[in-house]
């Protein structure tokens, strides 16, 4: 997996426009939550090979899992309307709840983080995740949220198929 593919994959799985739509917090709080999430993602990536060894899973099987999960996730993001802004802890505490959890640090992101780390390395994962999560902190005009969501969800489905094929047909 190239760094470029990792970047596109992380942007698609984060789906910045959709995540931003869920958050009522200000940009500094979202940025802090994104940094927190980046830390968790990097930690998972650092543990990646050890984790899949502990679970007795090979990298290709993990890719198959990523492909299946992202295909479903992409379809759901494509057909479901953008979520409304939910409540959260006020002030900088909002960086933890809801920005870090449950909005940004999602299971599909964690799964992709492990897979990208195993296939492309921790460096590639960190760069890609920083870009994907960083985009959540960029304010998006309301009128762009829906089309950007469609683009990200579509890209996610395409990348899911790519991961699936790469995983299934690997030696």
């Amino acid at each position: 997996m190239s760094v470029w593919l990792a970047i596109v994959l992380l942007i698609a799985v984060v789906n910045p426009a959709r995540r931003r739509a869920e958050l009522a917090n200000g940009t500094p709080v979202i940025a802090a939550g994104a940094v927190l999430t980046l830390g968790a993602v990097a930690l998972l990536g650092w543990w990646g090979n050890g984790l899949i060894d502990a679970l007795d899973i090979s990298a290709p099987t993990l890719r198959v899992g990523v492909g299946l999960v992202l295909a479903v996730g992409g379809l759901v993001d494509l057909v479901r309307p953008l979520p409304g802004r939910g409540e959260g802890v006020a002030g900088m505490g909002g960086a933890v709840i809801p920005v870090f959890f449950p909005v940004l640090f999602r299971p599909e992101l964690a799964l992709v983080a492990v897979s990208v780390s195993v296939d492309a390395g921790l460096g590639a994962l960190t760069v890609a995740a920083a870009i994907g999560l960083g985009l959540v902190a960029v304010p998006t005009a309301q009128r762009w949220a829906r089309p950007l969501n469609v683009v990200a969800a579509t890209a996610l489905i395409v990348l899911a198929v790519d991961r699936l094929i790469d995983g299934v047909f690997a030696l």
Binding site: L55, D56, L68, I97, F101, P102, P107, L111, F169
Partner: protein
């Protein structure tokens, strides 16, 4: 305030439920553990030795082996297959090459049985199937490989005339485009037109490629190349085979060819494609256990023979990497071969387990599915185990 709290609490609860459901569902349905285990060269050698023991004990004086056996019923189910007999003879010469006791004598008895069935065919000789009007080419191909293995091991040239005769016969079965006729018609002394086997083509390819190594420049190499090209470029479409054939014999043939010349780009691509066929089967097989749950989510464990062929395939791909470097990621063949060996060692019936059956000698060292073992369960597993030894010893 209460509504505010419940909203936060609700989001956290939903997030937590999502995580738990996701992780549990993922583990149970998609990311099931691949139970390859870890094996050492010593364990693999011991498993191979136990299989040689089974083959020695269960061979009749004339060289024929017990073909099919129901262990719980203690019943010999009969039947026989000359191609598998020749394949088993090859596996035993491979075992002899690894220095396993009794393997050479047992293999030689297998060869004696085959030599009694030689008849002239196609300008050379073939192993006849008494009573049949047409004869399959597989036995001749695998016996040729086996005798060449014996020649490498012993340095003896006793069988050279037979080897050349088998090679000449095999070449006569090869069509202009490289397709290999499945059977030879005794009455017409000619190939049966329009019939092709899933595996005999790869077996003929392996045999002809090996004969080029044994007798360089005597004409077997170009015929092998023609068959190899057909396998790599046409076979699946021409013979309407879908999904593409999981052809461990073709992998053997490619590895054999790589021993006397570099593989072409087309052949290398074919090797990579074979890896793409072997890999997923091994990962899937490694997720199967005898539990109720995996029976329903992954199916039952595969035959020993089936698993063994995958190991033969990946070990052949690994051999290619030793000769040609890491072609298209084929180095992963080492890890997959480890996995197959681990599964085979774990699933083999050992001497202690065998005591639970009526006739332990017919059980110990063999692989069973639904209580039944067949000769080729030992053939392919033995070869796969033996060919994993150099990988383990190389520390890859």
């Amino acid at each position: 305030m209460n509504q505010y709290r419940s909203t936060i609490r609700g989001r956290i609860r939903l997030g937590a439920i999502t995580w738990v459901a996701f992780l549990v569902g993922l583990r149970l349905l998609i990311l099931q553990p691949e139970r390859c285990g870890t094996v050492t060269a010593q364990e693999v050698r011991a498993a191979a030795l136990a299989t040689v023991g089974w083959l020695t004990v269960n061979q009749a004086d004339d060289g024929e082996w017990l073909y099919r056996y129901d262990a719980p019923a203690g019943e010999d189910l009969g039947g026989y297959n000359i191609t598998r007999h020749a394949g088993l003879t090859l596996s035993l010469y491979q075992a002899a090459a690894e220095g396993l006791a009794d393997a050479l004598a047992t293999a030689d008895r297998g060869s004696s049985w085959l030599s009694e069935r030689l008849v002239e065919a196609g300008g050379g000789v073939t192993v006849d199937e008494p009573g049949a009007s047409t004869v399959p080419v597989g036995a001749s191909a695998l016996w040729a490989v086996a005798l060449a293995e014996r020649r490498f091991l012993t340095g003896e040239d006793d069988f050279d005339d037979v080897l050349r005769g088998l090679g000449t016969f095999l070449a006569s079965q090869v069509e202009d485009n490289g397709a290999v006729a499945e059977r030879w018609d005794r009455r017409d002394d000619a190939p049966v037109a329009g019939r092709y086997s899933v595996f005999y083509t790869g077996e003929a390819y392996f045999a002809l490629a090996r004969l080029e190594r044994v007798f360089p420049g005597e004409g077997f190499g170009p015929v092998a190349d023609r068959v190899g090209h057909y396998l790599a470029t046409e076979r699946d479409d021409a013979e309407d085979r879908f999904p593409p054939v999981s052809d461990h014999w073709a992998a053997y043939g490619l590895a054999e060819t790589a021993s006397w010349r570099g593989l072409s780009a087309t052949e290398q691509e074919y090797a990579v494609r074979l890896g793409e066929i072997f890999g997923p089967q091994i990962r899937y097989a490694s997720q199967r256990t005898e539990s109720w749950f995996t029976h329903r989510t992954r199916g039952r464990q595969t035959l020993g023979a089936g698993l063994g062929t995958l190991g033969e395939g990946t070990t052949s791909l690994w051999t290619i990497t030793q000769l040609e470097g890491d072609v298209g990621g084929l180095e992963a063949a080492a890890e997959r071969s480890h996995c197959v060996a681990g599964l085979l060692v774990e699933r083999q019936i050992d001497a202690v387990e065998a005591r639970e059956f009526q006739d332990p000698e017919r059980v110990a060292g063999a692989w069973f599915q639904f209580g039944v073992t067949q000769m080729d369960d030992q053939q392919h597993t033995l070869s796969a185990l033996l060919r994993t030894l150099p990988i383990l010893e190389a520390g890859t």
